[in-house]
Symmetry: C2
Subunit: 298 residues, 2 copies
């Protein structure tokens, strides 16, 4: 089978053997934003030469702005409930294929803040072997919108999202603070010392919007260089995310994401005495394999 | 004399009588950003017909990106220290005038976050008559960068800044949340109920970047309309500012700013049982009058 992790800004396809091991993978920048709605053609192009019949997709491709909107499944939910919510369809440009899009999850409390995820649930399903036992597990998936997820007996029971990555990008690009940093964010160094200083600053009182102003004043008075400022800002924001969302009594936190980001969260959690286990994003492929098996079509 | 409050995005000139009362005032959009460095010509143009000899200016016009940089004065500081830090100069396009720019204030602790202000100190000097007595007073000047200032015996002794207004503008314009709101921010209604809901949401746990995601999910599930979202967002951000910066034991808070913004902070503080006294921005003119008198040239 083929598993496709298709998000807003990236496209990752995996060809799996009958045990779910990755045989080949392809990455492209063909995220939703760059597809211009031509999902069928883009998929056919990127799967060229891979002739497996079953194609399971997950991520924002199932959102309102994706190919086919697949309604959220209510949590608590595990592989069985998610598999049952998959949408099956066919496409002319991909003859003989059976296409599926996995649903996201939602939580709609009577009062308070609703929650959604789309794509992360598949990575968590991919962690099933690791998240065994009766005790709850905490999984953190850092990114544009970081998720902190509680998993019990293989099912997602609760989670909270923080817009950390998006707020970082906004401040890095458009704010008054951006004027104090090098223009090209692609060149930002992973300055561990500046990151640690930002983390430490996040522990003070005054709140996030107050601490943000400290990026400016430290720059004004020369205690933070333009090159150090991005990592300091990142430390501030991740520190505040942990202050707000880190559950106090979890054992090791499972981190899932790209290596650079996972490494930052690992350092931030370690500074708070929390141990971590790291997993990379190919978990999504394994999750889609589990979903296909749960649905009975692989 | 003439007092000019000259900031990044606005220009306000006041003509004062010998008791410091405002005789006439002129507002223009000739802030630093739109002047293109032509400060002398812009000032001459906007003062046309006002022949008073002494012109005192305050605000970002004294910053590194202004007309002449005037070094910050270290706090604690009151009218006397600020007046002593003013910079005097002349300009060919304004013959016979004595021009002055007031300095800003800074606080540079050995450890922790430095603070600066430029312009607000002049408004606080303008409040001198009100801030009498030995007890400390708390003055809040909401805006792009809100200031919470402690004043003792007429002197600024400490303050903290929160980038609330700037973060609001970034999120309102550039974030994923902006896509859920009406395009034109100028038309945002002052929706008191939505603002109150945002305030209440800020009291929950999880932190600011978590609560921001709630603007999106409430929109997704229909419990927050596009028209309500901006006021809700404003309530969230102001609520977090108050959580972080509101000194716990102050008596009434003095609010200084434009009427719309002051009204929002008044509601937010009132929801926390804190009484307020409101003052408008013409205080800057009165402050410059006091500074001129303290310096002995009016």
């Amino acid at each position: 089978m083929i598993a496709v992790d298709w998000g807003t800004s990236s496209f990752r396809a995996y060809r799996l053997d009958t045990d779910g091991h990755v045989l080949e993978q392809r990455h492209a920048t063909a995220g939703l934003l760059t597809c211009g709605g031509r999902f069928e053609a883009v998929l056919a192009q990127h799967l060229e030469g891979w002739n497996d019949r079953v194609v399971v997709m997950a991520g924002m491709i199932g959102s309102r702005n994706g190919w086919h909107e697949v309604p959220y499944v209510e949590s608590p939910a595990g592989a069985i409930e998610i598999a049952a919510g998959m949408r099956a369809f066919e496409a002319g440009a991909l003859p003989g294929r059976r296409l599926f899009i996995a649903p996201g999850l939602c939580h709609r409390p009577d009062a308070g803040q609703p929650e959604v995820m789309r794509g992360e649930e598949t990575q968590i399903v991919g962690l099933a072997d690791v998240l065994a036992g009766d005790a709850p597990h905490v999984v953190c998936l850092p990114g544009t919108h970081s998720k902190w997820v509680t998993v019990e007996r293989g099912r997602v029971v609760a989670w909270r999202t923080a817009m950390t990555g998006e707020v970082y990008a906004l401040l890095r690009k458009h704010s008054l603070l951006a004027a104090l940093m090098p223009a090209d964010a692609q060149q930002d160094a992973d300055d561990e010392a500046a990151f640690a200083r930002g983390l430490a600053a996040s522990e003070g009182d005054g709140g996030l919007t107050h601490h943000l102003f400290g990026v400016r004043t430290r720059g004004l008075f020369g205690s933070l260089s333009p090159e150090q400022a991005p990592a300091f800002l990142s430390g501030l924001l991740i520190g505040h995310e942990l202050r707000g969302l880190r559950p106090p009594h979890a054992s090791a936190v499972h981190l899932v994401g790209s290596s650079g980001l996972v490494h930052r969260y690992q350092r931030a959690l370690s500074a708070r005495g929390v141990s971590t286990r790291c997993h990379d994003e190919t978990l999504a492929a394994r999750g889609m394999f589990h979903l296909a098996r749960a649905a009975g079509f692989s």
